[in-house]
């Protein structure tokens, strides 16, 4: 079995830096989600771990072997490519069997393993077809099945479910998690879908601009974002950041005031939309509703506190509409205080 150590990996393409000093440790059997916006370097990092790209500097250790200089085939891992890379000239069966054939596994085992992987991904009906006759989502599942068929110790997945419809994605997600947990596969799962990352991962690494902004358990990332970027990227709708003046260790705005850390003249109050109570008549922030969107489970209000745009998730029966003004009471316990200059969270 195999943990992964990524040690100060840097990657530049000419003058452009794709990754600047990424360090990351993934325990044996752990499921780590790499979450980040498009172009932040997720695929590049995965390709470096797989050996398809050479890092500018740094080391990759898998298990207790330094694989930094090894070719991909000697790294003992499987990968699901972002663009599938399903072989067009082989049937689905042969595609899924490819890794096993390379390992010279006997025919009976190949058949058994291919069928197991195919059943898992619901692609049994297409085993004899060629990929050109499959939809994007079906091809994507072939790519996942091809990786699972070899029962890898380390599995790298680059947005493996991005092309499935919401329902199928939900189903595949939980099945995948079950299978990988059972087999104890060390998994790095790239996604830019934060619900997917939250639902699947033991830990999430949030990347931004070639840097890992924060690593931690999903709930931790959600509740205690280390930077403004993380708070804004994780969670839908994103976290609100309300700028408040500070006086004598207290941040105050409108009728709201709370103790805060730091020593600046201003501070950012990070607060999730669902962590603000509507308190008609009470002390708090005066909030003018501009848009009210009923989302079923919540009523999403977009509006302004003074001139700062924020979102509030209210009960669906709150009965508010555009133009109303109400008072908001942020739950002090759930506030994350951030430095407005650096965007970093301040210790409480």
């Amino acid at each position: 079995m195999a943990g992964i150590l990524i040690d100060r990996i840097r990657k530049t393409f000419g003058a452009a830096t794709a990754l600047s000093e990424i360090s990351l440790e993934i325990a044996d059997g752990e499921f780590l989600a790499l979450l980040g916006p498009s172009g932040c370097g997720k695929t590049t990092l995965l390709r470096i771990i797989a050996g398809l790209e050479t890092q500018t500097s740094g080391r990759v250790v898998i298990g207790d072997r330094d694989v930094s200089a090894l070719p991909p085939k000697d790294r003992g891992l499987a990968m699901v490519f972002q663009n599938y890379a399903v072989f067009p000239h082989m049937t689905v069966f042969e595609n899924v069997a490819f890794g096993l054939r390379m390992q010279k596994v006997d025919e009976a085992t190949i058949k058994r393993e291919v069928e197991r992987a195919a059943a898992l991904l619901h692609i049994e009906p297409y085993l004899e077809r060629y990929p050109a006759k499959l939809s994007g989502g079906q091809r994507q599942r072939v790519a996942v099945a091809r990786a699972l068929a070899v029962r890898p110790a380390v599995l790298l997945m680059d947005e493996p479910l991005s092309n499935l419809d919401a329902l199928l994605r939900l189903e595949m997600r939980s099945e995948l998690k079950g299978v990988l947990q059972q087999s104890g596969t060390t998994t790095i799962y790239v996604t830019h879908d934060q619900t997917e990352a939250m639902g699947l991962a033991d830990r999430i690494a949030v990347m931004h601009g070639g840097v890992i902004e924060q690593i931690g358990a999903p709930q931790m990332i959600y509740e205690r974002p280390a930077t403004k970027f993380v708070g804004g990227f994780v969670g839908s709708p994103p976290m609100n950041f309300i700028r408040m003046p500070v006086e004598a260790g207290r941040a105050a705005l409108d009728g709201f005031a709370a103790h805060c850390p730091g020593s600046g003249r201003d501070i950012l109050c990070g607060i999730r939309p669902e962590d603000m109570r509507l308190a008609p008549g009470g002390d708090g922030l005066a909030f003018r509703v501009m848009v009210a969107e009923p989302l079923g489970s919540t009523l999403l209000l977009t509006g302004k506190v003074q001139d700062q745009l924020i979102r509030v998730a209210a009960r669906p029966d709150a009965g508010l509409k555009a133009g109303d003004t109400i008072t908001l009471e942020p739950e002090t316990r759930r506030i994350v205080w951030l430095d407005p200059e650096t965007g970093r969270a301040l210790g409480a």
């Binding site: 797989a50 991909p72 085939k73 490519f81 890379a85 072989f87 490819f98 390379m102 390992q103 050109a132």
Partner: protein, 282 residues
């Protein structure tokens, strides 16, 4: 509806007419000449062709040349194309240099190699200077059929491998690199990747290259005549001789028909052997 179905035909019509005039008409004329004698249908020209002393020899020589040159050229071009893919910089420059012989006419190519291989040519000068021979040796005479053959093969490879290379390089560029990467991740060695991924995906280009090269190889003439004259008779050479020296259009036309039939057969063979189902392409 009707319009959009007709449109493709309208668009290809000019080229069809053009080819019809410049290709089908002479073809029909050649067939007529080959199959008529003194005003009536006849196989006399073919009988005369087959009865000629050089016929069997030129047939055998042409096939031998094709059988040796084509595999060598395909193998070489494949190797060159693979090497080109590995180059990070200067790929275009190398390709450009490799394709220079394409700009040389086949007669000129034959003369280049004649200058190298003839009895007072560059090869002999070099060998003499090295003390390996003690006087001019005629590599290209009919007494030395093996060296003459090798000389022709060399000249043909030098002259015409680049066209195969160009087709294969274009084919390589159509294969997304992800397929090779995926195979590599799943444990395929370089050779396995070449056999299981690259070659199958290259099949359409290989087919085009083979058809083009083989048809042209059956028409080999100028290089052979520049190097060996009639010491190494080939089919087109015989057609030329019957036409020019014997002033016999009929037998020359019969040769032309024979070459065409052989080329067509080779083409059909390649199309059958290297058939790719459309759904299995990249």
């Amino acid at each position: 509806m009707t319009n959009s179905r007709l449109l493709p035909y309208l668009l290809v019509a000019p080229s069809v007419v053009f080819l019809g005039l410049l290709f089908v008409v002479p073809l029909v004329q050649t067939i007529v000449i080959a199959f008529t004698d003194q005003g009536g249908a006849s196989l006399a020209h073919f009988r005369k062709m087959a009865g000629d002393l050089n016929f069997g020899l030129s047939l055998r020589n042409t096939f031998l040349l094709v059988a040796v040159v084509i595999p060598l050229q395909i193998g070489l071009a494949l190797a060159m194309a693979v090497m080109l893919q590995k180059l990070e910089k200067g790929r275009d420059l190398v390709l450009w240099i490799w394709t220079i012989p394409l700009g040389v006419s086949d007669l000129a190519a034959g003369l280049v190699w004649l200058a190298i291989l003839q009895d007072r040519g560059y090869l002999n000068s070099a060998l003499f200077a090295l003390g390996l021979i003690d006087g001019p040796t005629n590599w290209l005479s009919y007494e030395n059929p093996t060296t003459l053959f090798i000389g022709i093969v060399l000249a043909e490879i030098w002259r015409a491998t680049a066209i195969v290379l160009v087709i294969l390089v274009a084919g390589f560029q159509l294969i997304p690199k992800e397929y090779n990467e995926a195979a590599e991740v799943f444990g395929a060695t370089g050779w396995t990747r070449f056999r299981k991924i690259t070659l199958p995906l290259l099949k359409p280009s290989l087919q085009s290259a083979l058809i083009l090269r083989t048809v042209l190889a059956f028409e080999v003439f100028a290089v052979v005549y520049a190097l060996g004259g009639r010491n190494y008779p080939v089919l087109v050479g015989e057609a030329y001789t019957w036409m020019r020296d014997s002033q016999n259009d009929g037998v020359a036309a019969a040769y032309a028909i024979l070459i065409m039939v052989i080329s067509l057969a080779a083409t059909l063979l390649y199309i059958r052997l290297l058939r790719t189902k459309p759904e299995t392409q990249a």
